[in-house]
Amino acid sequence: MKSIFSTCAQDSKRLLTNALFWVLTATLVVIVLVVDLALPKELASGGVTPLTWNAPADAAFGTPALSEEALREAVRKGDAVGFLFGEDGLTIVHPGFSEKSLNIYVLELMRDGFTPVEVVSLDAQAKEIPLNLRLTPIFIAFEALMVGFILGGALMLAEKQDGTVRALRVSPFPVSSYIIAKTLLFSLIGTLYASLICVFTVGFSINWGLFLPLSFIGTAVFTMIGLAYTSPFRDMSGWFFSMIALLSINMLPVISYTSPAFTPFWMRLIPSYPMLMVYRAAMFGGSVDWVYTVVALGAWGIVSYLLARIFVARKHLKGAGV
């Protein structure tokens, strides 16, 4: 225990002299400024997918839904706007659009010769999420949660460069404590960074009970993947560029986040996907697919710890050669 907390303390001191730490902190400020000042607040028309049910052959818009229930479910999640063709005529179901946004759809429909008889909002809060805030979870997932991946890796490389890793190898410091110490420190930093971005953009009134544990677990998963990934590297050069490739794959779920209709199964296997979904629920309301979320994050938690155990032990600490 003592050794874990001491490692956290000295790693945080080492961070203060690490250039990447200040780069990431400056990025945080830039993100807040961009969200608050530079991004448009209008809801992007591509933000939701138009889904149809029972559409007549001449309705040349939207994607046919699998069932009426599936359509309502997608709308409830905020992923879609639905067009239900019933006996009485056309009903629009939407995830709480403002009148202004709705009018765009209604006008479009009337031009095609359809007049809606009813408009139903499936969002109790009936609140339109401005685009800039809608993008905030993306910034949080790919900046705040990545501190552990990037800075944890940077600290490991510094240990190799300083040669201090050799001193650790001949000390009674178990691999598990090494991983726990780094993960604990960065999970706290990641949670703090995520909270700061959220408070300065979306504000205080969010579901913190969901937001804080997610940020902590999310940073922990990425930190442990980062520790495993960095272990075989000796210096910054190769590490930095291949890291960007890995992070790009991890960013693919942004596509599904902004266009929910495109969510192939493999997308749900990428760790950032469940995180984005839960962030949206925590910050803007909506439902959480608990079974999927718990299974996905739980599995990634276990897998990332095992990967870190194996790689840190074999390639960074014990048995890593001289």
Partner: protein, 282 residues
């Protein structure tokens, strides 16, 4: 006690061993001096002994237990001072020691006391990035003592230090021996090895060329002769006489006007040269 039995190590796996058939033991409460020129394989052996390099062939035993099967907790009893720098350069000297102390689950020495002993008290709160090479070396040495190790590995602890600090460090090493530690001292310095070691081994080209107490080595390889300085008229002359040539020796002492007599004890340096045919510090 540490036992090293018939250890070989081949870095590249191409059948070219960096060290071959190394066998020796280091008793508790004694200092084992491991001498050899650069590239002889000294650090290789130390790294195998401390588990940094996996054992390929042979065995290293700590009180009978193989280094292959030691658990993490065993390292509570080990102290290692490396030849290369390995300190957290963004932390101060004191922070480096305090952090290292926190890794152990056995009682540790007060870091400030250790810094005092190696002459770094004044610089305790300076960042290591601002330390000189010698200061870093002293800090690395101090760090290796923080857990009062039963097995102490010192790779070149005094190279590049001024004579006064080197004396202080010698004293500290002797204290570790007095406390009962088994000290494995790797060095180029014949003088240091001679002054401290109970046993020395000469490593050359990856094999042990000679191993014994310094006294025994001097007896066996020393020149065993006396240098006599005597006066002949106005001039002082000098002559070397083998110790076993008793007739010549007594003749010299009875007939000549002897000014000085030196027993010609060989230095370890000279012995090394005789054993290996090579200069140690080349």
């Amino acid at each position: 006690m540490i036992q090293v039995n018939q250890v070989f190590h081949d870095y590249e796996g191409k059948g070219k061993c960096a060290v071959s058939d190394i066998t020796f033991s280091v008793e508790s409460g004694s200092i084992f001096g491991f001498l050899g020129p650069s590239g002889a394989g000294k650090s290789t052996i130390q790294n195998i002994m401390t588990g940094l390099l996996p054992i390929q062939k042979g065995e290293v035993l700590y009180d009978g237990k193989s280094v292959r099967h030691l658990n993490t907790g065993f390292f509570n009893q080990i102290g290692v001072s490396f030849e290369q720098n390995n300190l957290y350069s963004s932390l101060t000297g004191l922070e480096n020691l305090k952090y290292h102390a926190a890794l152990f689950s056995v009682p540790t020495v007060n870091p400030m006391e250790l810094l005092e002993r190696v002459g770094l008290r004044e610089d305790a709160n300076k960042r290591v990035s601002n330390y000189s090479k010698g200061m870093r070396q002293r800090l690395t040495f101090a760090r290796s003592l923080i857990n009062k190790p039963q097995y102490l590995f010192l790779d070149e602890p005094t190279s590049g230090l001024d004579p006064k600090t080197a004396v202080g460090i010698r004293e500290l090493i002797l204290e570790q021996k007095a406390r009962g530690a088994a000290v494995f001292l790797t060095t180029h310095s014949m003088e240091l090895a001679d002054a401290l070691s109970d046993t020395v081994a000469f490593l050359y080209g990856g094999v042990i060329a000679a191993m014994d107490t310094p006294e025994a080595l001097k007896r066996v390889y020393g020149k065993r002769e006396v240098r006599v300085v005597y006066r002949e008229g106005e001039e002082e002359r000098e002559r070397a006489i083998p110790l076993d040539d008793k007739a010549a020796l007594s003749a010299m002492l009875t007939t000549a006007d002897v000014v000085k007599l030196h027993s010609q004890e060989a230095t370890l340096e000279e012995i090394f040269l005789r054993v290996t045919g090579k200069e140690l510090t080349a």
